[in-house]
């Protein structure tokens, strides 16, 4: 075989050869273009002359689509896109979220020199790595499906966003490269400066991942509240104006936090799965601790999530009152009741896990008495939240009820009552969380009593404030004050959470740590860890559907009309079935990933000494 042939088969040389060909091709293309341009200029022909016919508003605006612009493949195009898009979003949320907290866990391991954190972070990444390829496959499928079934809509979006989609593609390459380097260099860059380099890679990975999320969000929010275009769809602004619509940042914040909560819940389920299937004490201890950390992440991200959702909804109302009313006062309003059931399930499951987990330490006996009160508030809050306002009733039922609303329960159906319920449930969940964190510690600071007195005062005043603001401004003053009062409630809840975290960080500095029996938690508590991701997944399918369908019969609200056979908001039952199908499909795929992650396992679990 000639020498040059063998040379080219070597990977390094092959790479340089391919690169050289690309560079030569690029230089040649540039030279041809420049020559063509020179020829045109010398012959007196300008670019303007070449663009014919002249540019009019119709030719660059949104197309007017008709039923024939949508290919018929024999099944509902909307349902196909629904399933693929939702599955892609679930996986994308998971793979973008996991590296966010993995870097933090790795950093904790590096600063505390506790090897357990590093091992756990690595194991979390292993789960997300398999999910990453599925995300990419689903993303590719979604693009094909959209271009096939909604070509007019996609052509318009491509014209509006232009080369921004190439930036997205470039970032996707960067994300893949960084992800694989970050995962596979874990052992090689495990000490000294190498570890800091590895952490930097993790930071870069997250910067790229978050940029991907924000770009994809701009497509979704453009279809709901378009900016940078006229009503006819003519692009008037630059890409920045198009991206920076009124809903972009609220959705960015909401999805960023929700992804972390969702990712935490998913890895929590993995830990529960491994805990229940483990046979040795060491394995059980390891996965119990992993489940505890995952739940910690999920609950911490869950607590501020309703406020981000509230901001998004406020901006939707501000952009279009009609759109807001469609979401919360029209056909979709019933889905908010289903949302209440799901969030109630999440809060009950998360609290139950915290209470079960407290029993790992003898120190938890100090707080046993309060749990029944927390449970009482959670159940009452849940009942208020699921109370509907407007019922669909027959004339007989209205006569029996004495009106269209129940005379006692009717007032519980409106927002002020629900705001009180939600905020009290969140305060109680934080209380469970705080007690859980304290259960294996004894404070050694001299001002412990004063600190506890202050914390109790904050809880008490915040609870009274939430109830007072809801009742007084919600029922006894002008409607205009209701929204302002809800801000008071949100601030009160956040005040409790932030002051609790700060106070405990000072009070439990140098605290005496009581022994924890990792691995001896009840098996029942692990089912709470399963309930969390199931409810989270369902909730994302539900509220994602609400967010998307508020556009009604528009592809791009107020700009591009939907003329497909599915240009209507489907019945609640149909939508419910679709969400359930997608949720079940996703969970089956996740089980497959867990199974894959368990193949070829070589990890030596950490053995808890205490």
């Amino acid at each position: 075989m000639p020498t040059w042939r063998t040379g080219l088969t070597r990977p390094g040389l092959r790479f340089w050869a391919v690169l050289a060909i690309f560079l030569l091709a690029a230089v040649a293309a540039g030279s041809v273009e420049a020559q063509a341009s020179d020829t045109l200029i010398s012959s007196g022909i300008t670019d303007q002359d070449l663009t014919s016919p002249p540019v009019t508003e119709e030719s660059v605006g949104a197309p007017k689509l008709g039923p024939r612009d949508y290919p018929n493949i024999g099944v509902s195009s909307r349902s196909v896109v629904w399933v693929v898009a939702q599955l892609h979003l679930f996986f994308a949320a998971f793979v973008l979220a996991v590296p966010l907290f993995v870097v933090v866990i790795e950093w904790i391991g590096q600063t505390t020199h506790d090897r357990r954190y590093d091992d756990m972070a690595h194991e979390f990444m292993k789960i997300s790595l398999t999910a990453y390829s599925i995300t990419a496959l689903l993303g590719g499928t979604l693009s094909f499906v959209l271009f096939l079934l909604y070509p007019g809509f996609m052509a318009f979006l491509m014209r509006v966003f232009g080369s921004q989609v190439l930036v997205y593609a470039g970032l996707f390459f960067a994300e893949s490269t960084l992800l694989y380097i970050y995962y596979y260099s874990w052992r090689r860059l495990s000490s000294g400066n190498g570890k800091w380099l590895h952490l930097t890679l993790g930071l870069l990975l997250n910067a790229v991942g978050t940029s991907l999320l924000f770009i994809a969000n701009s497509w979704a929010t453009f279809t709901m509240a378009p900016s940078g275009v006229t009503e006819a769809g003519v692009v008037t602004g630059g890409i920045w104006e198009i991206m920076r619509g009124p809903l972009w940042n609220p959705l960015n914040l909401h999805r960023f936090i929700a992804n972390i909560a969702f990712g935490g819940a998913m890895v929590g389920a993995y830990a529960a799965f491994k805990f229940l299937s483990s046979t040795t004490k060491a394995d059980k201890a390891h996965y119990d601790w992993m489940g505890y950390t995952a739940n910690f992440i999920a609950v911490l991200a869950l607590l501020p999530l309703p406020f981000a959702g509230y901001w998004l909804m406020a901006e939707i109302y501000a952009y279009s009152q009609q759109m807001g009313i469609t979401a919360m006062g029209g056909i979709l309003a019933w889905l908010f009741i289903v949302q209440a059931v799901l969030i109630g399930t999440i809060l009950l499951a998360a609290n139950y896990y915290l209470w079960s987990g407290m029993s790992r330490s003898e120190g938890s006996k100090r707080y046993d008495w309060i749990i029944k009160y927390i449970a009482g508030v959670l159940v009452l809050g849940f009942l208020v939240w699921v109370t509907p306002h407007t019922l669909i009733l027959s004339s007989d039922e209205i006569a029996t009820l004495g009106g269209s609303h129940h005379h006692i329960l009717g007032p519980l159906g409106i927002m002020p009552a629900k705001n009180i319920a939600v905020n009290l449930m969140l305060i109680c969940t934080f209380l469970s969380f705080q007690l859980y964190r304290r259960s294996d510690k004894v404070a050694t600071v001299s001002w412990e009593k004063s600190g506890n007195a202050l914390m109790t005062a904050i809880y008490l005043v915040a609870i009274i404030n939430v109830i007072f603001a809801g009742v007084y401004y919600g029922y006894f003053t002008n409607t205009v004050y209701k929204v302002g009062a809800s801000v008071i409630q949100v601030v009160s809840t956040l005040f409790v959470i932030i002051s609790g975290v700060i106070l405990d960080s000072f009070m439990y500095r140098n605290a005496k740590i009581l022994p924890s029996r990792w691995g001896q938690v009840s098996e029942r508590s692990q089912y709470a860890l399963f309930a969390l991701p199931v409810a989270f997944t369902w909730l994302m399918a539900l509220m994602g559907y609400v967010r998307s369908s508020v556009r009604g019969h528009w592809h791009v609200y107020g700009v591009l009309k939907d003329a497909s056979p599915d240009n209507f908001i489907p019945t609640i039952g149909y939508a419910g079935n679709m969400m359930t199908i997608v949720t079940v499909l996703f969970l089956l795929m996740v089980l497959f990933i867990f199974w894959l992650a368990s193949l070829g396992e070589t990890r030596k679990p950490y053995v808890e000494q205490s």
């Binding site: 279009s320 009593k449 005062a457 302002g484």
Partner: protein, 43 residues
């Protein structure tokens, strides 16, 4: 005696906390424009 002193301190702390919350409430309701402009004056 010691318990009584603790109770008094706690009441003082409670009152101070309530005062802080009251001030925040008043600031929010006085500055209605902050959140309400989004709702009442849609773009």
């Amino acid at each position: 005696m010691k318990e009584r002193r603790s109770l008094i301190i706690w009441i003082v702390v409670l009152t101070a906390t309530a005062a802080v919350f009251y001030a925040i409430d008043q600031a929010i309701m006085a500055g209605q424009g902050l959140p309400l402009n989004w709702i009442l004056q849609p773009a």
